[in-house]
Amino acid sequence: MIIELLFFVVLLICCFLCLYRIARGPTVPDRVVAIDILGIVVVGFTALIAVETGKDFYMNIAIAWALISFLGTIALAKHLEGKSFDE
């Protein structure tokens, strides 16, 4: 269907805007913010694929991706702060 294709294209544009910020970002925290946002946009992608195909294991991938992306963001933020992970 044409409208689903349109959603995918708009989400792809979002991904490319994030990638532009990752490539250009003047400081390191800019890049980390863009990586965080990219992780959340990918969850939307996976949810759209799940509703397109009707298979529910894609939603498992979305949940796992959301949690692991959160862990990565926290680890990078702690690294920026100059601490190790368990402080």
């Binding site: 708009v10 910020r21 800019d30 963001t73 933020a77």
Partner: protein, 109 residues
């Protein structure tokens, strides 16, 4: 009928995503970017997942979408908070036209 309502909700969510990513490009410093991007993208993904629930109904896929929405709503602001703190501690300055900075007083004490 459910399909049409669901697709309209997903469309709203995708538009919010797009505005969030435009905010990521246009804002002048890290903190403003974090604000625009986190809020718009979180609400956008929530709308997308609600649209998925409206389309498929309350079968396993829909329940998983609701759980994923709760996870995103809990984790995304926590990540943003940690990132803002990390950015400030790593020495990124506020935008030059900023009005006030109360946090600096505490750091210098």
């Amino acid at each position: 009928m459910n399909n049409i309502i669901g697709y309209i909700i997903i469309g709203i969510g995708v538009l919010f995503n797009l505005f969030g990513c435009i905010g990521l490009l246009r804002m002048p410093d890290v903190y403003c970017r974090l604000q625009a991007a986190t809020k718009c993208v979180t609400l956008g993904i929530c709308f997308v997942l609600i649209g998925v629930v409206v389309i498929v109904g309350f079968n396993p896929l829909g329940v998983k979408a609701l759980i994923c929405m709760v996870f995103i709503l809990v984790t995304s602001p926590t990540g943003a908070h940690a990132l803002a703190r990390g950015a400030y501690k790593s020495g990124v300055k506020l935008w030059k036209k900023s009005v006030c900075d109360k946090y600096k007083d505490k750091e210098s004490k």
